[in-house]
Symmetry: C2
Subunit: 397 residues, 2 copies
């Protein structure tokens, strides 16, 4: 049966993840992949989890395996509240926290309750692909801001032309994919613009606590909790496999998100929430996070050093203070899609930067993950990539 005539406008405006399709090419064992955003499995606290899971089943097994509340397990929301207090001195009552089936669901629910077809959302250029996918899947129209300082002008134009943005989407710490971190001044400026035009900000913080150097900066949420919706996740700091994230927002917003979550998946598994709560309460989370940061710092430095050693002329890269990614730029005349085909023949994979550019730009850019690969593979993979870039250069010489 041909279902094409039956498809909704939402279905037709969805875009398949390029990362997903690239990854399916990149699963051959001989390929060194810098394409995914996978945390390193060495950071997974397997032993602790074995004990905690046993304990949860023994002490709260029936509740853990039963239907849970849509808001999420109270014990976990309390631990998240304590985490904010401990890490940022921020008071977040549990009434302001909704547990989600990881950040992707948070982006989905926010898009669902705010975006009508054609609505503008202001985001970075580049910006996180999963967020763009969520906006597109509700027929949203992401506008990619070229320069942070252009935000006021962009919002003014959009408001003046009847295209007032539904919200500003930002990853202020070690942005995916650019690795950039907003300065304190930039955060204050963005909150000021949101206040000026009466806009919401969606502040996505998956990498905030994966910091290698420099000082942590206050969240935009702390500057104006009334208009900032803050997203968090345990995918990078604990394990991604539990699919545990959360939304911090005022009750008037959270209440709408809870109704949306009811019809999206009723509730996030209580069992994994209880396990995460016990893990956080044990203190092991903070200890493990320190080790994770140290590991990723070393891996980032190794990748940057390998770039310095092997990359040909004209390749530029970021050197972020945290996160999981490096962002590379070739000279503007080159296309990383063309490079991708050569790189796959050389058995190395990355994500083309175009995937992160809602305006179709960024063709000469690419994202590389440094958290997942072994040290040997980082060095060997960079060598292969440098070799592929040289072939691309030669082809167009």
């Amino acid at each position: 049966m041909d279902i094409t005539p039956l498809l909704s406008q939402n279905a037709l405006s969805m875009r398949r993840s390029q990362i997903r399709d690239l990854l399916s090419v990149a699963t051959r064992p001989e390929i060194i992949s810098f394409a995914g955003g996978f945390p390193n499995p060495a950071t997974f606290p397997l032993e602790e989890l074995k004990d905690i899971m046993k304990e949860v089943l023994e002490t709260e097994g029936y509740a853990a395996l039963q239907y849970g509340s849509t808001e999420g397990v109270v014990a976990l929301r309390k631990e998240i509240s304590k985490l904010y207090k401990r890490e940022e001195g921020l008071d977040v009552p549990i009434e302001n926290i909704l547990i989600t089936t990881a950040s992707q669901q948070a982006l989905d629910l926010i898009s669902r309750i705010f975006i009508n077809p054609g609505d503008v959302v202001v985001c970075g250029l580049p910006s996180y692909l999963g967020a763009l996918q969520a906006f597109w899947s509700y027929q949203g129209n992401p506008y990619g801001l070229r320069h942070n300082r252009g935000l006021d002008e962009a919002c003014n134009v959009l408001c003046a032309t009847g295209k007032k943005p539904k919200f500003l989407y930002s990853i202020p710490d070690f942005q995916n994919p650019s690795g950039e971190t907003m300065t304190l001044e930039e955060r204050e400026y963005a909150v000021g613009v949101a206040q000026k035009y009466d806009l919401l900000i969606v502040e996505d913080t998956p990498y905030k606590n994966i910091r290698f150097s420099g000082e942590s900066l206050p969240s935009m949420y702390s500057m104006d909790p009334s208009r900032v919706i803050m997203l968090g996740t345990f995918s990078k700091t604990f394990v991604p496999g539990f699919r545990l994230g959360w939304i911090v927002a005022q009750p008037n917003i959270l209440d709408r998100l809870i109704v949306a979550k009811q019809s999206a998946d009723l509730c996030t598994p209580a069992f994994s929430q209880m396990v995460a709560a016990k893990y956080l309460a044990s203190g092991a989370y903070d200890e493990n996070l320190k080790k994770t940061c140290a590991l990723y710092k070393r891996k980032k430095e190794l990748m940057v050093k390998s770039f310095e050693e092997f990359m040909p002329e004209g390749v530029k890269w970021t050197n972020p203070d945290g996160g999981l990614f490096l962002f590379l730029k070739l000279p503007v005349q080159y296309d990383t899609r063309e490079l991708f085909d050569i790189a796959i023949k050389e058995n190395v994979a990355f994500v083309t930067g175009e995937a992160f550019h809602c305006d179709g730009g960024g063709k000469h850019t690419m994202r590389l993950n440094f958290s997942f690969a072994s040290d040997e593979k980082i060095v060997e993979g960079v060598k292969r990539l440098a070799n592929a870039i040289r072939q691309l250069y030669a082809k167009h010489a």
Copy 2:
């Protein structure tokens, strides 16, 4: 900040679950609740799960805690395929199976890829509230069919007036809330109507294997796999807390659902999928299901017997061959919302039937769950409810 002007049409068309709000009233410990759809915790295989979880962490821990594929874990899809072969002699290749974050997500994804604002979906009257919520949240327009035999006429009218339904939604086995099971002839008739008007059928089967008596009937999917999307879940036959369900459909449909799931939550937790796969492979699933059916059969019979003993004149109830619910009807002039307030004072809760009627009808009906309460509470709760009904009668005498 007032977010009302920012809300999407989807958000405005969402309806808060009445069950959820009723349940929040019904959580006081002195209340005997027949309101939820909770499986009995005595059916949760806690001991087996302890061992299997340990084994999964020891043998596949890193993969179990990492990001998984959107389609779901292959081992679990294989076990589901075997389950269909074992239970129904049905060949379902794993390429036709997508794992979802339980059935509610399946309903959400299907609504997302098919429903445009105003689109008609034909469903039962009454029908499952969670499905209605999913349809409404995409501004769908559920039409509740009064009589199964009216399907042809209804589809003809809808097609002739430019309102061709996007799909027919049906729970053929022990329907929630009515408890009714479609006969073989009714299934063939529904598939025939779908073929005649070139419609999809969404066949939801959460209770199919919770059968107490009578013979299992072939699925509509088995009659025409090209146009039937079949939903399954482990929420009633294993544990609801893992949030594990699935969709069986042809690859052209599944492919769209996979793209939708990418932006909804990327993937369902791999860990719980691996645990479920091992549990199914061990054979304990089939054994446990037999015990579950025996337990629920006894509880259903106890509730029916209590009705017979205590209910006043004029109350009618179903006596289904399976599932988790009994459906009650008062004489038509009475309103179960009014009864609910009296019942809460008597410390007993149920769900008003109106919640399951997309046309606003069914005010004299109510749904009672028999799987969760202890035997003592079933008897005592029915006594209290009968008492509440007598008070309602007296008030209007």
